[in-house]
Protein backbone atom coordinates (compact mmCIF):
# COMPACT_ATOMS: atom_id res chain seq x y z
CA UNK A 1 0.00 0.00 0.00
CA UNK A 2 1.31 3.47 -0.79
CA UNK A 3 1.78 5.87 2.10
CA UNK A 4 -1.41 7.78 2.97
CA UNK A 5 -1.60 11.33 4.28
CA UNK A 6 -4.60 13.26 5.49
CA UNK A 7 -4.43 16.67 3.95
CA UNK A 8 -6.71 19.71 4.11
CA UNK A 9 -6.83 21.70 0.89
CA UNK A 10 -7.85 25.33 1.33
CA UNK A 11 -8.89 26.47 -2.13
CA UNK A 12 -9.60 29.98 -3.39
CA UNK A 13 -13.11 30.09 -4.83
CA UNK A 14 -14.77 32.76 -6.90
CA UNK A 15 -17.69 32.66 -9.31
CA UNK A 16 -18.87 35.52 -11.49
CA UNK A 17 -20.46 38.33 -9.47
CA UNK A 18 -19.72 36.59 -6.19
CA UNK A 19 -17.34 37.56 -3.42
CA UNK A 20 -14.23 35.39 -3.16
CA UNK A 21 -13.99 32.84 -0.37
CA UNK A 22 -11.90 29.86 0.65
CA UNK A 23 -13.34 26.33 0.79
CA UNK A 24 -11.62 23.53 2.65
CA UNK A 25 -11.60 19.87 1.69
CA UNK A 26 -9.99 17.15 3.77
CA UNK A 27 -8.84 14.16 1.76
CA UNK A 28 -6.64 11.09 1.86
CA UNK A 29 -3.73 11.42 -0.52
CA UNK A 30 -0.58 9.60 -1.50
CA UNK A 31 2.17 12.14 -0.69
CA UNK A 32 4.01 11.16 -3.89
CA UNK A 33 1.10 12.47 -5.94
CA UNK A 34 1.30 16.01 -7.22
CA UNK A 35 -0.55 19.10 -6.03
CA UNK A 36 -2.57 19.01 -9.27
CA UNK A 37 -3.67 15.44 -8.50
CA UNK A 38 -5.04 16.59 -5.14
CA UNK A 39 -6.93 19.45 -6.83
CA UNK A 40 -8.28 17.04 -9.45
CA UNK A 41 -9.38 14.67 -6.67
CA UNK A 42 -11.41 17.50 -5.12
CA UNK A 43 -13.16 18.05 -8.47
CA UNK A 44 -13.65 14.32 -9.15
CA UNK A 45 -14.89 13.25 -5.72
CA UNK A 46 -15.95 16.30 -3.67
CA UNK A 47 -17.04 19.37 -5.64
CA UNK A 48 -17.78 19.28 -9.37
CA UNK A 49 -18.13 23.06 -9.49
CA UNK A 50 -14.38 23.63 -8.95
CA UNK A 51 -12.70 25.27 -11.94
CA UNK A 52 -8.99 24.74 -12.58
CA UNK A 53 -6.88 24.54 -15.71
CA UNK A 54 -4.69 21.57 -16.59
CA UNK A 55 -3.72 19.56 -19.65
CA UNK A 56 -0.45 17.65 -19.99
CA UNK A 57 0.36 16.69 -16.37
CA UNK A 58 4.12 16.67 -17.03
CA UNK A 59 5.29 20.28 -17.41
CA UNK A 60 5.18 20.63 -21.15
CA UNK A 61 2.00 22.70 -21.56
CA UNK A 62 2.11 25.29 -18.78
CA UNK A 63 -1.63 25.20 -18.07
CA UNK A 64 -1.68 24.40 -14.35
CA UNK A 65 0.20 27.25 -12.69
CA UNK A 66 -1.20 28.17 -9.26
CA UNK A 67 0.07 29.65 -6.02
CA UNK A 68 0.71 26.94 -3.46
CA UNK A 69 1.10 28.28 0.07
CA UNK A 70 1.85 31.63 -1.54
CA UNK A 71 4.47 30.43 -4.01
CA UNK A 72 3.97 30.06 -7.77
CA UNK A 73 4.15 26.39 -8.78
CA UNK A 74 3.47 24.33 -11.85
CA UNK A 75 1.22 22.04 -9.87
CA UNK A 76 1.55 18.98 -12.13
CA UNK A 77 5.21 18.49 -11.16
CA UNK A 78 5.03 19.66 -7.55
CA UNK A 79 4.86 16.58 -5.31
CA UNK A 80 2.71 17.07 -2.22
CA UNK A 81 5.63 15.81 -0.15
CA UNK A 82 7.75 18.76 -1.34
CA UNK A 83 5.36 21.48 -0.14
CA UNK A 84 3.47 20.17 2.88
CA UNK A 85 3.25 17.42 5.47
CA UNK A 86 0.78 14.89 6.83
CA UNK A 87 -2.11 16.60 8.62
CA UNK A 88 -1.29 20.07 7.29
CA UNK A 89 -3.43 22.66 5.51
CA UNK A 90 -2.36 23.48 1.95
CA UNK A 91 -3.58 26.80 0.54
CA UNK A 92 -4.02 26.96 -3.24
CA UNK A 93 -4.80 30.22 -5.03
CA UNK A 94 -4.86 31.47 -8.64
CA UNK A 95 -1.87 33.24 -10.18
CA UNK A 96 -1.59 36.98 -9.45
CA UNK A 97 -1.46 39.83 -11.96
CA UNK A 98 -4.07 38.26 -14.24
CA UNK A 99 -7.88 38.66 -14.15
CA UNK A 100 -9.63 35.72 -12.48
CA UNK A 101 -11.99 33.72 -14.69
CA UNK A 102 -13.25 31.46 -11.92
CA UNK A 103 -11.74 29.80 -8.85
CA UNK A 104 -8.16 28.82 -9.77
CA UNK A 105 -8.40 29.85 -13.44
CA UNK A 106 -6.99 33.15 -14.68
CA UNK A 107 -7.18 34.87 -18.08
CA UNK A 108 -3.64 34.91 -19.48
CA UNK A 109 -4.61 36.61 -22.77
CA UNK A 110 -2.37 39.57 -21.95
CA UNK A 111 0.71 37.35 -21.70
CA UNK A 112 -0.08 35.65 -25.02
CA UNK A 113 -0.61 39.02 -26.72
CA UNK A 114 2.82 40.09 -25.52
CA UNK A 115 4.43 36.80 -26.60
CA UNK A 116 2.91 37.32 -30.06
CA UNK A 117 4.11 40.93 -30.11
CA UNK A 118 7.73 39.86 -29.56
CA UNK A 119 7.42 36.90 -31.99
CA UNK A 120 8.51 34.48 -29.28
CA UNK A 121 9.92 31.33 -30.83
CA UNK A 122 7.80 28.25 -30.17
CA UNK A 123 10.32 25.92 -31.83
CA UNK A 124 14.03 26.38 -32.43
CA UNK A 125 16.97 24.35 -33.75
CA UNK A 126 18.21 21.88 -31.12
CA UNK A 127 21.66 23.40 -31.56
CA UNK A 128 20.41 26.74 -30.21
CA UNK A 129 18.73 25.36 -27.10
CA UNK A 130 20.49 26.17 -23.85
CA UNK A 131 20.49 22.61 -22.67
CA UNK A 132 22.93 20.27 -21.02
CA UNK A 133 24.67 19.51 -24.33
CA UNK A 134 27.50 21.99 -24.77
CA UNK A 135 27.32 23.61 -28.21
CA UNK A 136 30.51 21.81 -29.24
CA UNK A 137 28.87 18.39 -29.05
CA UNK A 138 26.42 19.18 -31.83
CA UNK A 139 27.32 18.56 -35.44
CA UNK A 140 26.50 21.37 -37.86
CA UNK A 141 23.97 19.14 -39.61
CA UNK A 142 22.04 18.81 -36.33
CA UNK A 143 20.73 22.34 -36.90
CA UNK A 144 18.05 20.76 -39.09
CA UNK A 145 16.51 19.18 -35.99
CA UNK A 146 14.03 21.29 -34.07
CA UNK A 147 12.80 21.31 -30.52
CA UNK A 148 10.08 23.11 -28.62
CA UNK A 149 11.44 26.08 -26.74
CA UNK A 150 11.80 25.81 -22.98
CA UNK A 151 9.31 28.58 -22.16
CA UNK A 152 5.92 27.01 -21.41
CA UNK A 153 4.18 30.41 -21.32
CA UNK A 154 2.72 29.32 -18.00
CA UNK A 155 2.58 32.80 -16.47
CA UNK A 156 4.36 31.91 -13.21
CA UNK A 157 7.00 34.60 -13.81
CA UNK A 158 4.35 37.27 -14.36
CA UNK A 159 2.55 36.26 -11.17
CA UNK A 160 5.74 36.40 -9.10
CA UNK A 161 7.09 39.65 -10.60
CA UNK A 162 6.78 42.66 -8.25
CA UNK A 163 6.98 45.06 -11.20
CA UNK A 164 4.24 43.30 -13.17
CA UNK A 165 2.09 43.88 -10.10
CA UNK A 166 2.49 47.64 -10.52
CA UNK A 167 1.67 48.02 -14.22
CA UNK A 168 0.09 45.81 -16.86
CA UNK A 169 2.04 47.73 -19.50
CA UNK A 170 5.35 46.14 -18.44
CA UNK A 171 6.31 43.48 -21.00
CA UNK A 172 7.33 41.18 -18.16
CA UNK A 173 9.84 38.35 -17.74
CA UNK A 174 8.71 35.75 -20.30
CA UNK A 175 8.31 38.18 -23.23
CA UNK A 176 11.64 39.88 -22.46
CA UNK A 177 13.33 36.48 -22.21
CA UNK A 178 11.80 35.65 -25.60
CA UNK A 179 13.40 38.78 -27.11
CA UNK A 180 16.76 37.80 -25.60
CA UNK A 181 16.34 34.31 -27.05
CA UNK A 182 16.09 35.82 -30.54
CA UNK A 183 18.92 38.29 -30.04
CA UNK A 184 19.26 41.98 -30.90
CA UNK A 185 21.79 41.35 -33.67
CA UNK A 186 19.53 38.99 -35.59
CA UNK A 187 16.32 40.85 -34.69
CA UNK A 188 17.04 44.58 -34.53
CA UNK A 189 13.33 45.22 -35.15
CA UNK A 190 12.73 44.21 -31.53
CA UNK A 191 15.04 46.92 -30.18
CA UNK A 192 12.40 49.64 -29.70
CA UNK A 193 10.24 47.24 -27.69
CA UNK A 194 13.11 45.99 -25.53
CA UNK A 195 14.46 49.51 -25.02
CA UNK A 196 11.07 51.08 -24.20
CA UNK A 197 9.85 52.34 -20.85
CA UNK A 198 7.99 49.05 -20.44
CA UNK A 199 10.93 46.94 -21.60
CA UNK A 200 14.20 45.91 -19.95
CA UNK A 201 14.65 49.12 -17.98
CA UNK A 202 11.50 48.62 -15.91
CA UNK A 203 12.84 45.39 -14.40
CA UNK A 204 13.97 45.89 -10.80
CA UNK A 205 16.15 42.78 -10.74
CA UNK A 206 14.09 41.07 -8.07
CA UNK A 207 14.87 37.70 -9.70
CA UNK A 208 11.51 36.31 -8.52
CA UNK A 209 10.83 35.15 -12.11
CA UNK A 210 13.88 32.93 -12.15
CA UNK A 211 13.06 31.60 -8.70
CA UNK A 212 9.64 30.33 -9.81
CA UNK A 213 10.33 29.38 -13.46
CA UNK A 214 9.55 25.64 -13.75
CA UNK A 215 11.25 25.25 -17.11
CA UNK A 216 14.85 26.53 -16.78
CA UNK A 217 14.29 29.68 -18.81
CA UNK A 218 16.02 31.83 -16.17
CA UNK A 219 14.25 35.03 -17.30
CA UNK A 220 16.14 37.31 -14.87
CA UNK A 221 19.53 36.39 -16.29
CA UNK A 222 18.15 36.78 -19.80
CA UNK A 223 16.81 40.25 -18.97
CA UNK A 224 20.22 41.28 -17.61
CA UNK A 225 21.82 39.94 -20.79
CA UNK A 226 19.23 41.70 -22.93
CA UNK A 227 20.18 45.01 -21.26
CA UNK A 228 23.74 44.46 -22.45
CA UNK A 229 22.47 43.61 -25.91
CA UNK A 230 20.28 46.73 -26.01
CA UNK A 231 23.21 48.96 -25.02
CA UNK A 232 25.36 47.27 -27.66
CA UNK A 233 22.71 47.72 -30.33
CA UNK A 234 22.30 51.41 -29.50
CA UNK A 235 26.05 51.94 -29.60
CA UNK A 236 26.11 50.27 -32.99
CA UNK A 237 23.39 52.67 -34.13
CA UNK A 238 25.37 55.68 -32.88
CA UNK A 239 28.63 54.55 -34.42
CA UNK A 240 27.00 53.15 -37.51
CA UNK A 241 28.40 49.63 -37.23
Amino acid sequence: MPEQWTLTLRLYRQKANEAPRYDTFTLQVNPDEYVLDAVERVWAFHDRSLCFRHACHHSTCGACGMRVNGVEKLTCITPLRAVTQNGAVLTIEPLRNFPIVSDLVVDMGDLYRKMERVNARAVLPVTEAEIEHPASTWNPEDAQYLRLSDCLECGLCISACPVAATTAAYLGPAPLAAIQDQGMRRHPELLPLADSEDGVWRCHSAFECTAVCPSFVDPARRIMDLRRQVVGAKLRQVFGK
Binding site: S49, A55, H57, C61
Partner: protein
Protein backbone atom coordinates in the same frame (compact mmCIF):
# COMPACT_ATOMS: atom_id res chain seq x y z
CA UNK B 1 -29.04 34.61 -43.35
CA UNK B 2 -28.88 32.02 -40.61
CA UNK B 3 -26.12 29.45 -40.77
CA UNK B 4 -26.86 26.01 -39.38
CA UNK B 5 -25.82 25.84 -35.73
CA UNK B 6 -23.72 22.89 -34.59
CA UNK B 7 -22.87 22.29 -30.94
CA UNK B 8 -19.77 20.23 -30.32
CA UNK B 9 -19.43 18.64 -26.89
CA UNK B 10 -15.80 18.35 -25.87
CA UNK B 11 -12.73 20.50 -26.57
CA UNK B 12 -10.20 17.73 -26.88
CA UNK B 13 -8.41 17.07 -30.16
CA UNK B 14 -11.50 15.77 -31.96
CA UNK B 15 -13.75 18.58 -30.77
CA UNK B 16 -11.43 21.45 -31.69
CA UNK B 17 -10.55 19.93 -35.07
CA UNK B 18 -14.24 19.39 -35.86
CA UNK B 19 -14.97 22.98 -34.84
CA UNK B 20 -12.24 24.16 -37.22
CA UNK B 21 -13.56 22.03 -40.09
CA UNK B 22 -17.21 23.01 -39.64
CA UNK B 23 -16.37 26.71 -39.22
CA UNK B 24 -14.54 26.59 -42.57
CA UNK B 25 -17.57 24.94 -44.17
CA UNK B 26 -19.83 27.76 -43.06
CA UNK B 27 -21.48 26.44 -39.93
CA UNK B 28 -22.12 28.44 -36.82
CA UNK B 29 -20.21 26.41 -34.24
CA UNK B 30 -20.37 26.38 -30.46
CA UNK B 31 -17.97 24.15 -28.52
CA UNK B 32 -19.02 23.31 -24.97
CA UNK B 33 -16.41 21.84 -22.66
CA UNK B 34 -16.72 21.11 -18.95
CA UNK B 35 -13.09 22.04 -18.22
CA UNK B 36 -10.58 23.92 -20.31
CA UNK B 37 -9.11 22.94 -23.69
CA UNK B 38 -7.54 19.45 -23.57
CA UNK B 39 -8.18 18.73 -19.89
CA UNK B 40 -8.96 15.06 -20.49
CA UNK B 41 -7.21 12.47 -22.61
CA UNK B 42 -5.88 14.84 -25.28
CA UNK B 43 -3.76 16.94 -22.95
CA UNK B 44 -2.25 13.83 -21.42
CA UNK B 45 -1.39 12.17 -24.70
CA UNK B 46 2.15 10.87 -25.07
CA UNK B 47 2.89 13.42 -27.82
CA UNK B 48 3.91 11.03 -30.58
CA UNK B 49 2.97 12.13 -34.09
CA UNK B 50 2.79 8.58 -35.42
CA UNK B 51 4.33 7.68 -38.76
CA UNK B 52 2.15 4.58 -38.63
CA UNK B 53 5.09 2.25 -38.05
CA UNK B 54 3.63 1.05 -34.77
CA UNK B 55 0.50 -0.22 -36.53
CA UNK B 56 2.01 -1.28 -39.86
CA UNK B 57 1.90 -5.02 -39.14
CA UNK B 58 -1.42 -5.67 -37.39
CA UNK B 59 -3.58 -2.57 -37.96
CA UNK B 60 -2.87 -1.32 -41.47
CA UNK B 61 -5.95 0.89 -41.66
CA UNK B 62 -4.64 2.91 -38.69
CA UNK B 63 -1.12 2.91 -40.10
CA UNK B 64 -2.24 4.41 -43.41
CA UNK B 65 -4.33 7.03 -41.60
CA UNK B 66 -1.29 7.91 -39.47
CA UNK B 67 1.22 8.42 -42.28
CA UNK B 68 -1.22 10.58 -44.25
CA UNK B 69 -2.11 12.73 -41.27
CA UNK B 70 1.50 12.94 -40.08
CA UNK B 71 2.42 14.63 -43.35
CA UNK B 72 -0.59 16.96 -43.23
CA UNK B 73 -0.03 18.13 -39.65
CA UNK B 74 3.65 18.81 -40.36
CA UNK B 75 2.47 21.19 -43.09
CA UNK B 76 -0.40 22.97 -41.36
CA UNK B 77 0.87 23.25 -37.78
CA UNK B 78 4.69 23.20 -37.70
CA UNK B 79 4.63 25.56 -34.70
CA UNK B 80 3.91 22.68 -32.28
CA UNK B 81 5.96 19.86 -33.83
CA UNK B 82 9.49 18.54 -33.40
CA UNK B 83 9.82 16.96 -36.88
CA UNK B 84 12.89 14.91 -36.09
CA UNK B 85 11.86 11.40 -37.11
CA UNK B 86 11.83 8.26 -35.02
CA UNK B 87 13.73 5.04 -34.61
CA UNK B 88 12.54 1.48 -34.22
CA UNK B 89 15.31 -0.51 -32.57
CA UNK B 90 15.81 -4.25 -32.03
CA UNK B 91 17.40 -5.43 -28.80
CA UNK B 92 16.87 -9.21 -28.91
CA UNK B 93 16.06 -12.11 -31.23
CA UNK B 94 12.33 -11.63 -30.84
CA UNK B 95 12.70 -8.03 -32.03
CA UNK B 96 14.89 -9.12 -34.94
CA UNK B 97 12.37 -11.71 -36.05
CA UNK B 98 9.73 -8.95 -36.20
CA UNK B 99 11.82 -6.91 -38.64
CA UNK B 100 10.70 -8.71 -41.79
CA UNK B 101 6.98 -8.13 -41.13
CA UNK B 102 7.73 -4.56 -40.07
CA UNK B 103 9.52 -3.74 -43.33
CA UNK B 104 6.77 -5.36 -45.40
CA UNK B 105 4.04 -3.58 -43.42
CA UNK B 106 5.67 -0.17 -43.76
CA UNK B 107 6.11 -0.68 -47.50
CA UNK B 108 2.51 -1.75 -47.89
CA UNK B 109 1.25 1.27 -45.94
CA UNK B 110 3.49 3.78 -47.71
CA UNK B 111 5.63 4.58 -44.66
CA UNK B 112 9.15 5.66 -45.70
CA UNK B 113 11.72 3.49 -43.99
CA UNK B 114 15.52 3.63 -43.83
CA UNK B 115 17.57 0.87 -42.27
CA UNK B 116 20.53 2.09 -40.21
CA UNK B 117 23.47 0.19 -38.86
CA UNK B 118 23.63 0.14 -35.06
CA UNK B 119 26.59 2.51 -35.29
CA UNK B 120 24.65 4.95 -37.45
CA UNK B 121 21.76 4.85 -34.98
CA UNK B 122 24.13 5.52 -32.08
CA UNK B 123 25.60 8.47 -33.92
CA UNK B 124 22.11 9.95 -34.25
CA UNK B 125 21.14 9.07 -30.69
CA UNK B 126 24.15 8.43 -28.45
CA UNK B 127 21.96 7.46 -25.48
CA UNK B 128 20.41 4.42 -27.21
CA UNK B 129 21.13 1.03 -25.70
CA UNK B 130 24.58 0.27 -27.21
CA UNK B 131 23.63 -3.41 -27.55
CA UNK B 132 21.05 -2.63 -30.23
CA UNK B 133 21.02 -5.13 -33.09
CA UNK B 134 19.11 -3.25 -35.79
CA UNK B 135 17.52 0.15 -36.32
CA UNK B 136 15.03 1.69 -38.72
CA UNK B 137 14.47 5.39 -39.23
CA UNK B 138 10.86 6.41 -39.94
CA UNK B 139 9.07 9.79 -40.08
CA UNK B 140 7.72 9.88 -36.52
CA UNK B 141 7.62 13.28 -34.85
CA UNK B 142 6.60 14.68 -31.48
CA UNK B 143 4.23 17.50 -30.58
CA UNK B 144 3.06 19.69 -27.71
CA UNK B 145 -0.45 18.38 -26.97
CA UNK B 146 -2.09 21.54 -25.66
CA UNK B 147 -0.63 23.80 -28.33
CA UNK B 148 -1.74 21.38 -31.06
CA UNK B 149 -5.32 21.69 -29.85
CA UNK B 150 -5.04 25.44 -29.29
CA UNK B 151 -3.88 26.01 -32.88
CA UNK B 152 -7.04 24.30 -34.19
CA UNK B 153 -9.18 26.16 -31.65
CA UNK B 154 -7.56 29.51 -32.46
CA UNK B 155 -8.26 29.08 -36.16
CA UNK B 156 -11.82 27.96 -35.48
CA UNK B 157 -12.35 30.97 -33.23
CA UNK B 158 -10.94 33.26 -35.89
CA UNK B 159 -13.54 31.82 -38.27
CA UNK B 160 -16.37 32.51 -35.86
CA UNK B 161 -16.59 29.44 -33.62
CA UNK B 162 -17.61 30.13 -30.06
CA UNK B 163 -15.84 28.30 -27.23
CA UNK B 164 -17.75 27.83 -24.00
CA UNK B 165 -15.23 26.32 -21.59
CA UNK B 166 -16.09 25.41 -18.00
CA UNK B 167 -19.55 24.59 -19.38
CA UNK B 168 -20.66 21.09 -18.44
CA UNK B 169 -23.45 19.40 -20.37
CA UNK B 170 -26.13 18.35 -17.87
CA UNK B 171 -28.73 16.98 -20.27
CA UNK B 172 -29.49 16.77 -23.95
CA UNK B 173 -32.52 18.80 -25.01
CA UNK B 174 -35.07 16.60 -26.80
CA UNK B 175 -38.06 17.41 -28.98
CA UNK B 176 -40.52 15.00 -27.39
CA UNK B 177 -40.01 12.41 -30.13
CA UNK B 178 -36.61 11.36 -28.91
CA UNK B 179 -34.63 13.63 -31.22
CA UNK B 180 -31.83 15.84 -29.91
CA UNK B 181 -32.25 19.60 -30.30
CA UNK B 182 -29.56 21.05 -28.09
CA UNK B 183 -27.89 20.86 -24.69
CA UNK B 184 -28.47 22.20 -21.21
CA UNK B 185 -25.21 23.36 -19.73
CA UNK B 186 -24.01 24.43 -16.32
CA UNK B 187 -21.69 27.39 -16.83
CA UNK B 188 -19.34 26.50 -13.99
CA UNK B 189 -17.61 29.88 -13.99
CA UNK B 190 -20.85 31.82 -13.71
CA UNK B 191 -22.72 29.12 -11.74
CA UNK B 192 -25.68 29.42 -14.11
CA UNK B 193 -27.73 26.97 -16.17
CA UNK B 194 -28.34 27.70 -19.82
CA UNK B 195 -30.13 26.00 -22.72
CA UNK B 196 -28.35 26.04 -26.09
CA UNK B 197 -30.30 24.99 -29.18
CA UNK B 198 -28.74 23.59 -32.30
CA UNK B 199 -29.45 21.94 -35.63
CA UNK B 200 -26.97 19.21 -34.76
CA UNK B 201 -25.07 18.08 -31.67
CA UNK B 202 -21.69 16.36 -32.05
CA UNK B 203 -20.56 14.20 -29.15
CA UNK B 204 -16.76 14.46 -29.24
CA UNK B 205 -16.10 13.42 -25.66
CA UNK B 206 -13.79 10.50 -26.38
CA UNK B 207 -13.54 8.18 -23.40
CA UNK B 208 -16.59 9.91 -21.91
CA UNK B 209 -18.75 9.44 -25.05
CA UNK B 210 -20.92 6.85 -23.30
CA UNK B 211 -21.96 9.36 -20.64
CA UNK B 212 -23.36 11.71 -23.30
CA UNK B 213 -25.12 9.01 -25.34
CA UNK B 214 -26.64 7.68 -22.10
CA UNK B 215 -28.43 11.03 -21.79
CA UNK B 216 -30.29 10.02 -24.98
CA UNK B 217 -30.77 6.50 -23.66
CA UNK B 218 -28.10 5.02 -25.94
CA UNK B 219 -25.03 2.92 -25.40
CA UNK B 220 -21.81 3.91 -27.14
CA UNK B 221 -19.31 1.17 -27.97
CA UNK B 222 -16.43 3.01 -26.29
CA UNK B 223 -13.95 1.21 -24.08
CA UNK B 224 -12.03 3.63 -21.86
CA UNK B 225 -8.52 2.16 -21.74
CA UNK B 226 -6.03 4.05 -19.57
CA UNK B 227 -2.27 3.81 -19.66
CA UNK B 228 0.55 5.35 -17.68
CA UNK B 229 3.17 7.87 -18.78
CA UNK B 230 6.33 8.74 -16.85
CA UNK B 231 8.30 11.89 -17.70
CA UNK B 232 11.97 11.88 -16.64
CA UNK B 233 13.98 15.03 -16.12
CA UNK B 234 16.59 14.68 -18.88
CA UNK B 235 16.21 15.10 -22.63
CA UNK B 236 18.15 11.97 -23.52
CA UNK B 237 16.99 11.70 -27.14
CA UNK B 238 16.02 14.12 -29.89
CA UNK B 239 13.55 11.85 -31.67
CA UNK B 240 10.99 9.16 -30.90
CA UNK B 241 12.46 5.79 -29.95
CA UNK B 242 10.27 2.69 -30.37
CA UNK B 243 10.90 -0.96 -29.60
CA UNK B 244 10.87 -2.95 -32.84
CA UNK B 245 8.15 -5.43 -31.90
CA UNK B 246 4.41 -5.77 -31.53
CA UNK B 247 2.96 -2.89 -29.48
CA UNK B 248 3.52 -3.52 -25.79
CA UNK B 249 4.06 -1.81 -22.45
CA UNK B 250 6.61 0.97 -22.08
CA UNK B 251 8.00 0.54 -25.57
CA UNK B 252 8.07 4.19 -26.69
CA UNK B 253 10.37 6.93 -25.39
CA UNK B 254 9.82 10.50 -26.59
CA UNK B 255 11.59 13.80 -26.05
CA UNK B 256 9.48 16.63 -24.58
CA UNK B 257 11.27 19.90 -23.80
CA UNK B 258 14.02 18.93 -21.28
CA UNK B 259 12.46 15.54 -20.59
CA UNK B 260 11.90 12.13 -22.02
CA UNK B 261 8.50 10.50 -21.58
CA UNK B 262 8.13 6.71 -21.39
CA UNK B 263 4.79 5.10 -22.15
CA UNK B 264 2.60 3.28 -21.79
CA UNK B 265 0.35 0.50 -20.44
CA UNK B 266 -3.15 -0.64 -21.32
CA UNK B 267 -5.91 -1.63 -18.94
CA UNK B 268 -9.66 -1.11 -18.71
CA UNK B 269 -11.53 1.23 -16.39
CA UNK B 270 -15.08 2.43 -15.94
CA UNK B 271 -15.02 5.83 -14.19
CA UNK B 272 -12.12 7.67 -15.78
CA UNK B 273 -12.49 11.08 -14.11
CA UNK B 274 -9.62 10.19 -11.80
CA UNK B 275 -7.25 7.29 -12.41
CA UNK B 276 -4.61 6.97 -9.69
CA UNK B 277 -1.07 6.06 -10.61
CA UNK B 278 0.15 2.67 -9.37
CA UNK B 279 3.73 2.05 -8.29
CA UNK B 280 4.06 -1.23 -10.20
CA UNK B 281 3.32 0.55 -13.48
CA UNK B 282 5.84 3.28 -12.68
CA UNK B 283 8.43 0.58 -12.07
CA UNK B 284 7.50 -1.14 -15.33
CA UNK B 285 8.09 2.08 -17.29
CA UNK B 286 11.53 2.41 -15.72
CA UNK B 287 12.43 -1.16 -16.59
CA UNK B 288 11.08 -1.09 -20.11
CA UNK B 289 12.20 2.46 -20.89
CA UNK B 290 15.73 1.86 -19.67
CA UNK B 291 16.03 -1.14 -22.00
CA UNK B 292 15.78 1.36 -24.85
CA UNK B 293 17.65 4.23 -23.16
CA UNK B 294 19.77 2.95 -20.24
CA UNK B 295 20.51 6.49 -18.97
CA UNK B 296 16.89 6.79 -17.89
CA UNK B 297 18.05 5.00 -14.74
CA UNK B 298 20.13 8.08 -13.93
CA UNK B 299 17.22 10.47 -14.47
CA UNK B 300 14.45 11.28 -12.01
CA UNK B 301 10.70 11.15 -12.58
CA UNK B 302 9.35 14.68 -13.06
CA UNK B 303 5.70 13.98 -13.90
CA UNK B 304 3.71 10.73 -13.67
CA UNK B 305 0.19 10.52 -15.03
CA UNK B 306 -2.53 8.37 -16.55
CA UNK B 307 -4.27 9.02 -19.88
CA UNK B 308 -7.40 7.20 -21.04
CA UNK B 309 -7.68 6.08 -24.66
CA UNK B 310 -11.19 5.94 -26.11
CA UNK B 311 -11.06 2.62 -27.95
CA UNK B 312 -13.97 1.60 -30.15
CA UNK B 313 -15.15 -1.74 -31.47
CA UNK B 314 -14.77 -5.26 -30.23
CA UNK B 315 -11.86 -7.11 -28.64
CA UNK B 316 -9.85 -5.65 -25.82
CA UNK B 317 -6.71 -3.68 -25.02
CA UNK B 318 -3.84 -3.84 -27.51
CA UNK B 319 -5.73 -6.12 -29.90
CA UNK B 320 -8.29 -3.40 -30.64
CA UNK B 321 -7.80 -1.35 -33.77
CA UNK B 322 -6.76 2.25 -33.20
CA UNK B 323 -8.93 3.63 -35.96
CA UNK B 324 -11.96 5.81 -35.30
CA UNK B 325 -15.71 5.61 -35.78
CA UNK B 326 -18.35 8.22 -36.44
CA UNK B 327 -21.91 7.22 -35.50
CA UNK B 328 -24.97 8.99 -36.92
CA UNK B 329 -27.53 8.05 -34.27
CA UNK B 330 -30.29 8.49 -36.85
CA UNK B 331 -28.87 5.40 -38.52
CA UNK B 332 -27.96 3.49 -35.35
CA UNK B 333 -31.01 4.23 -33.19
CA UNK B 334 -33.37 6.42 -35.26
CA UNK B 335 -32.50 9.46 -33.12
CA UNK B 336 -32.03 12.62 -35.16
CA UNK B 337 -29.71 15.45 -34.20
CA UNK B 338 -26.87 13.57 -32.54
CA UNK B 339 -23.56 12.37 -34.02
CA UNK B 340 -20.88 10.65 -31.95
CA UNK B 341 -17.21 10.56 -32.98
CA UNK B 342 -14.77 8.54 -30.92
CA UNK B 343 -11.81 6.20 -31.07
CA UNK B 344 -8.79 7.26 -33.07
CA UNK B 345 -5.68 8.96 -31.85
CA UNK B 346 -4.12 12.39 -31.67
CA UNK B 347 -2.30 11.90 -34.97
CA UNK B 348 -5.57 11.32 -36.82
CA UNK B 349 -7.50 14.18 -35.22
CA UNK B 350 -7.88 16.13 -38.46
CA UNK B 351 -9.12 13.08 -40.37
CA UNK B 352 -11.60 12.30 -37.58
CA UNK B 353 -12.89 15.85 -37.85
CA UNK B 354 -13.16 15.63 -41.65
CA UNK B 355 -15.18 12.44 -41.43
CA UNK B 356 -17.44 13.88 -38.74
CA UNK B 357 -17.94 17.14 -40.60
CA UNK B 358 -18.77 15.16 -43.76
CA UNK B 359 -21.52 13.35 -41.86
CA UNK B 360 -22.82 16.54 -40.25
CA UNK B 361 -22.75 18.51 -43.51
CA UNK B 362 -24.53 15.74 -45.43
CA UNK B 363 -27.29 15.80 -42.82
CA UNK B 364 -27.54 19.59 -42.92
CA UNK B 365 -27.43 19.78 -46.72
CA UNK B 366 -24.10 21.65 -46.84
CA UNK B 367 -22.14 20.99 -50.04
CA UNK B 368 -18.88 22.77 -49.14
CA UNK B 369 -15.95 20.36 -49.28
CA UNK B 370 -13.37 19.94 -46.55
CA UNK B 371 -10.38 22.28 -46.83
CA UNK B 372 -8.50 21.51 -43.63
CA UNK B 373 -5.76 19.55 -45.41
CA UNK B 374 -4.52 22.73 -47.05
CA UNK B 375 -5.36 25.36 -44.44
CA UNK B 376 -2.41 26.46 -42.29
CA UNK B 377 -3.43 27.00 -38.68
CA UNK B 378 -3.04 30.29 -36.81
CA UNK B 379 -0.71 30.68 -33.86
CA UNK B 380 -1.88 28.70 -30.84
CA UNK B 381 -1.59 31.91 -28.82
CA UNK B 382 -4.44 33.44 -30.78
CA UNK B 383 -6.89 31.16 -29.00
CA UNK B 384 -6.29 33.31 -25.95
CA UNK B 385 -5.95 36.66 -27.70
CA UNK B 386 -9.21 36.32 -29.65
CA UNK B 387 -12.42 36.32 -27.68
CA UNK B 388 -15.77 34.79 -28.51
CA UNK B 389 -17.18 38.19 -29.43
CA UNK B 390 -14.67 38.91 -32.16
CA UNK B 391 -15.96 37.23 -35.29
CA UNK B 392 -13.93 37.16 -38.46
CA UNK B 393 -16.13 35.49 -41.02
CA UNK B 394 -14.17 34.71 -44.14
Amino acid sequence: MSKPHVIIIGAGFTGVATAHDLALRGCQVTVVERGDICNGTSGRTHGLLHSGGRYAVKDKESAIECIEENQILRRIVPQVIEPNGGLFIALDDSDLSYAEQFIAGCEECGIPLEELTPQQALTLEPNLNPRLLAAFLIPDATFDPLRLALAFAATARHNGAQFRTYAEVETLLMDGQGNVTGVRILDRAANRHEDLHADMVVNATGAWAGQITAMAGLDAPVHPTPGIMVAYDQRLVQRAVNRLNEPGDGDIVLPQRRMVVVGTTSFTAENVDYIPVTEDQVQLMLERGSELIPAIRNARPRGIYMATRPLVGSGSGRSMARTFKCFDHKETHNIEGLVTITGGKATTMRAMAEKTADVVCAKLGIQTPCTTRETPLLSYRQYYTLSNQEKHYA
